[in-house]
């Protein structure tokens, strides 16, 4: 429980600090200290696990692992956001309150073992995200992004709620553990209520994961939202949802009911195909990354469908790799953005190598990892996904995964080609006094992420160990 309390307290403290003295630096420091404290409190909590905190939350090794992942990713986002907001005018400090609240929602999600906490976490996360997407409300794209996200997320939440209601109507319980007990106990239930309920829950989850056909908001929101916020949406919000997905379905075994498996297969295949196809000729880097994230979640679903401990490990490991890579990629975008607009058009990156070789190198690494080239974290992650899929003989899914990965290579390479293209001589003279300095914190974070990326790619054993220990606490159906 401690981490949740610390994050909550941090949000309140930052809010009060803002009302006492408005200082960007102070707000950032308080946020970072709060996140770090919450992160280290995980070790204090660890010996006590697993404990059931009220019927709503379960804190076990699995939850702790994901909490750590989320807190670390939030930490990185905050540092990126600091560098990003330094260039912006207007109120800047409130973003950190929102980030903390969103992190709180995600942390609740990964620890929830009940529909109520599931929904509560989801909404805390979503409400904060609406405001975060529209944070730079003086510009049009963020406003549009926030509004779209609000409307669609609300709609999908309604589906989710209805689904939960149907399941509850049928089984009379909202606790995952009891649902599992009833399903395995052979309690008689009607397909007509339970299965549509599950399908509607999938809608709600699918929206947050941005998988086909609930994906269409993704590019617009990714493009519009400020780059650090996009990084947050792409990693923390999705990661928390995947954690919940694993827990919910693995603990209840619902994915094997009726045609639910088929539904997930369709979603996975459609996501892999549509995500990669849509990105092909995009010229907006943020949109490309959005589409690629759709495809990546499709890959994750392949392993998810495989089932079993192996698959849970593969998914979790993949998420770690995906977090590192995505944060790095959006980190580069946010470091390059200035006070007027985000650096999101492919032209912003043309010849970047000749201007900022190190940054281009980092971006290259991130893209290679997204594409799954060996010696990066992305490769090892994808390798485990395929291995998990193969162990359950999901050949159709694996085939799609591999073919679409090849297609995906194309648009990653397009960005790479742009990075290393000779600089365009379009009369765009170098700004007086050289290039604007990059935010220091952002640069350190990016450097750390790239080191981590290669480290995990070459020497995945420690992370794998942690993942295995975490997943072993999951009570599989």
């Amino acid at each position: 429980m401690l981490p949740l309390l610390i994050v909550t307290a941090a949000a309140v403290v930052v809010m009060l600090a803002i009302s006492i003295k408005r200082s960007h630096l102070l707000a950032v420091w308080l946020t970072l200290v709060g996140l770090a404290a919450a992160f280290f409190s995980l070790w204090i909590v660890a010996p006590l696990t697993p404990i059931q905190v009220t019927p709503l939350l379960i804190v076990d090794g699995y939850a702790l692992f994901y909490m750590g992942l989320i807190l670390a990713a939030t930490f990185v986002t905050v540092i990126l956001a600091y560098g990003y907001l330094e260039n912006q005018s207007g109120y800047r400090e409130e973003l950190y309150v929102l980030i903390l609240v969103a992190a709180l929602g995600s942390v609740v999600l990964v620890a929830s073992s009940h529909f109520v906490s599931f929904f509560l976490g989801l909404e805390v996360l979503s409400v904060a995200l609406y405001a975060m997407s529209a944070y730079l409300c003086a510009r049009k794209p963020p406003l549009e992004a926030g509004l779209k996200y609000l409307v669609l997320a609300a709609a999908s939440a309604a589906f989710l709620l209805f689904g939960m209601a149907l399941v509850y109507a049928q089984l009379g319980t909202m606790q995952f553990g009891q649902i599992a007990a009833m399903l395995s106990g052979g309690a008689c239930y009607s397909k007509a209520l339970l299965l549509p309920g599950i399908a509607l829950i999938i809608t709600g989850i699918g929206f947050k994961l941005a998988v086909v056909p609930f994906h269409m908001w993704t590019p617009d929101v990714y493009e519009g939202a400020p780059a650090p916020v996009t990084a947050f949406i792409a990693t923390v919000s999705k990661g928390a949802m995947v954690a919940l997905l694993l827990r919910y379905f693995y603990e209840t075994g619902m994915q094997h009911l009726g045609s639910v498996f088929l539904v997930f297969s369709i979603i996975a295949i459609a996501s892999m195909i549509a995500g990669n196809l849509l990105a092909l000729f995009q010229n907006n880097v943020k949109r490309i990354l959005a589409y690629s994230s759709i495809a990546h979640l499709g890959y994750v679903l392949v392993a998810f469908l495989a089932g079993g401990t192996r698959a849970a490990e593969a998914v979790t490991f993949y998420l770690v790799a995906y977090f590192i890579t995505t944060l790095g990629a959006f980190g580069v975008v946010s470091v390059l953005s200035n006070g007027e607009r985000d650096a999101d058009v492919l032209d912003d990156y043309r010849g970047l190598f000749w201007r900022r070789p190190v940054l281009a190198g980092i971006f290259t690494l991130m893209l290679l990892s997204l594409a799954g080239i060996p010696l990066t974290a992305g490769f090892v992650g994808k390798f485990f996904l395929v291995a998990a899929g193969a162990s359950s003989a999901l050949w159709g899914l694996i085939f799609t995964l591999i073919v679409t990965s090849v297609i995906g290579l194309f648009y990653y390479l397009r960005i790479l080609v742009a990075l290393y293209a000779p600089p365009a001589e379009t009369g765009e003279a170098a700004p007086a006094g050289g290039l604007p300095a990059l935010s220091r914190g952002g640069s350190y974070v990016l450097a750390a992420l790239s080191v981590l990326l290669v480290w995990v790619g070459v020497y995945p054993a420690p992370i794998l160990d942690a993942v295995q220990r975490a997943v072993s606490t999951l009570r599989l159906f």
Partner: protein, 124 residues
């Protein structure tokens, strides 16, 4: 579980709105005169645009009211069960209220409660 009541329900749900729309379409009179399209204002011809811009303050204040009012609901629910939840519940509601107060302090310092905008410009 029997399925047919749902089917019947579904059909009825479809029939009623469609029927209403159809009926009014078929039975209703149709005419197109000068004042047909103008809004009904008790016989008084409306003037000017209906799109009057209210100050955003109205919405903001209304929103605060709704939010804080809703929070009161939780306090009521605690009040109902005050003996059952004991001291733990008391501490919880205390924390809850403290957060509410913190929010209020924040709003106040932000200047969200000031009606006239001139003080908002002065950032503390």
């Amino acid at each position: 579980m029997v399925l047919w009541p749902f089917v019947v329900f579904f059909v009825i749900v479809l029939i009623i709105p469609v029927g209403m729309l159809l009926l009014s379409h078929v039975l209703g009179q149709r005419h197109n005169e000068h004042a047909t399209g103008s809004p009904y204002e008790s016989g008084i011809v409306s003037e000017g645009s209906a799109n009057v811009r209210f100050s955003v303050k109205f919405y903001l204040t209304a929103m605060f009211f709704v939010i804080f009012d809703l929070e009161a609901v939780f306090i009521f629910s605690w009040a109902v069960a005050v003996r059952e939840v004991g001291w733990a519940g008391y501490i919880e509601i205390l924390i809850f209220t403290a957060i509410l107060v913190a929010t209020l302090v924040y709003l106040w310092r932000l200047g969200a409660l000031d009606w006239s905008p001139k003080q908002r410009g002065e950032r503390s």
